[in-house]
Symmetry: C2
DNA sequence: CTGAAAGCGCTAACAG
DNA sequence: CTGTTAGCGCTTTCAG
């Protein structure tokens, strides 16, 4: 066990600890030769400075925390990777933390603020059920990304930084598209309908599209999934589609609030002898990369991952560096038409 | 910003800091009433103890680190979840850390040992290219899980704890199965063939099966993927299969060293008008859950995730608590026959 | 049962 | 350019 400390290095080099510290932290006020000698000893001994001690001492640290709710959803992978890149470009360090479904992300954020002297926080995923007072206690700028538009969610404009697609409009667009293909019995597989969440917003979009097109709303066509610790999963998609097929054999299309859910749904449809898209059209949400590898390629509402990630970090840094006020930004979603959707065939029944 | 410290709490309660510390750490030597009063104030103020300070001071801590190389491979999800559970059952805390492809996991482990007073380390994924001397410096028990059998990899028995399936035998079994279905032109999509890795071991299994069945080895049927920072990805599977189809139009089956690679390969095959499994059989490795949702359901060599995870933690704790010597354990892999493999049809060409 | 006091390893004034 | 020193917030003896 290497319990070697900065003191040992100092002794070994015949210098003071502060000189070693300076070498370690690339301070300008140090003789290059001394520094080289110290670094050499550090390398030889395999000395690693104790971060706990550093964090304890340092008054500030260029850290940004990324708190992700829903580790298993591949949609977040892309977001995380891109954000990390941007954060690094800004010469900050990313602290990535996954938050369990039952964990309170704001509480986690709070400890991180104390722990790691955060400069800012990005909340990724999860529902918007946070007490503004608790949020205010965080003491550093934070931004919600891909959790839905806060204003729409809460009914009034909150002074919370937020970036998302217009989930309602995006879902509406997807349903519109299905309707334009001739579908009238369209299923919905979702989650979190009863709470302020993207699931709710996308559900609203579903209803809005039906209304707009003068199609009746039928609750039998709506499946809400809530099994397991994570809801955005293939098994849940499978269950949702199974339920829907049972209840509505005349369903010719189904909208899923996430691509992973759509994939599970596809499997269920195939198991029931349904061909996709010939018998049933399936449309997902997110536009994740693996949807492009699925058979059939998944039609999906694509969230502009690159743009959202960049905007998220840009806004956060505006708040950090220029003390700008939190903003609400809506980025455009795009319908990605691939192979899992097709016009309704004449042979298909509509009761 | 909550810069409230243990001192503030002490003052607020009119007690000494050590008493607050005792309350915080469930020490026995404290008046229950005093404790209750302190806990009340802590709750009211929202005080969170600074972990850096705790880690700095505490001499030991029941922490186990899980170092995962290859974040995007869903195979590790299952392993992680189960291990976390076992570790928690042992009343230890899991420290999960993802390691980039280009990062040195042993170096990361070293800092964690210093930082977080680790009791043990699990290395998940990655190749076995570690210097035993550096490993020895870690100073705490560690175990390699799912990185291939170290003895087979290095040619001599190393005293390093290790748990894995017999990758070579498992791959051999998969190829055997394909051959038993009548296939003779069998492709291989792999990675890390030149280094001590599971990729190498599975490649050995491929060759062994061919030999055993007196089938010629044809390097044109072997695709090695090495693009991007992560190799176990669908795009890489896509590329591998594309290359193989170009080079060997007579290929009627393909073995992929991972399910994610197999999924990418399936997509490429489908894009080239090949039906799976009618035209080409595809077999993966790992047996991940989503393979069951893929269309067609993926035939795969299943690694016993539950058993491996449990054994890994059990062995690690044997080393920690009973100071047992490191062991090498082989767990059995199982062929999971699903829908992506079928007998070679008569119509299929074999040059 | 409780408080005072001594550091854990490091950084950052401050004084050479 | 470099060494000395005072803590960062917490846990843990050691005396009461």
């Amino acid at each position: 066990m290497s319990n070697i400390t900065i003191k040992d290095i100092a002794k070994l080099c015949g210098v003071g600890v502060s000189t070693v510290s300076r070498a370690l932290n690339n301070h300008p006020d140090i003789n290059p030769e001394t520094k080289a000698r110290i670094m050499q000893v550090i390398r030889e001994t395999g000395f690693i400075p104790n971060d706990s001690a550093r964090y304890l001492k340092r008054s500030e640290m260029n850290n940004i925390a990324l708190l992700v709710k829903g580790i298993s959803n591949p949609f977040f992978f892309g977001m995380i990777r891109i954000m990390e890149e941007y954060i690094q470009k800004k010469d900050y360090t990313t602290i990535l933390r996954h938050v369990g479904t039952d964990e309170d992300e704001v509480a986690v954020a709070m400890s991180l603020v104390i722990e790691r002297r955060l400069k800012g926080i990005v909340f990724l995923g999860g529902a918007f059920t946070h007490d503004p007072k608790v949020l205010a206690k965080l003491g550093v700028p934070y931004i919600f990304s891909t959790i839905g538009n806060v204003a729409n969610l809460t009914g009034k404009s909150v002074k919370v930084a937020n970036i998302a697609v217009d989930d309602t409009q995006a879902a509406c667009m997807a349903i519109d598209y299905l309707i334009s293909l001739g579908h009238t019995r369209i299923g919905f597989i979702g989650e979190g309908i009863g709470i302020p969440s993207v699931g709710r917003l996308r559900y609203d979009g579903y209803r809005r599209a039906l209304e707009k097109n003068h199609l009746p709303y039928d609750s039998a066509l709506v499946a809400e999934i809530n099994e397991g610790t994570e809801h955005y999963t293939m098994p849940n998609g499978y269950k949702g589609a199974s339920v829907l097929m049972d209840r509505c054999p005349d369903m010719t299309a189904v909208f899923c609030i996430a691509d992973v859910i759509a994939m599970g749904a596809c499997r269920a449809l195939a198991d029931h002898g349904k061909k996709i898209p010939e018998d049933v059209s399936v449309i997902g949400f997110d536009g994740i990369e693996s949807g492009d590898y699925f058979i059939p390629r998944l039609t999906s509402v694509k969230q502009p991952v690159e743009e959202m990630s960049e905007e998220t970090i840009r806004l956060l840094f505006e708040m950090i560096e220029e003390k700008k006020a939190p903003q609400n930004i809506i980025v455009p979603a795009k319908l990605l038409i691939r192979d899992s959707t097709a016009p309704r065939r004449n042979g298909q029944t509509t009761v």
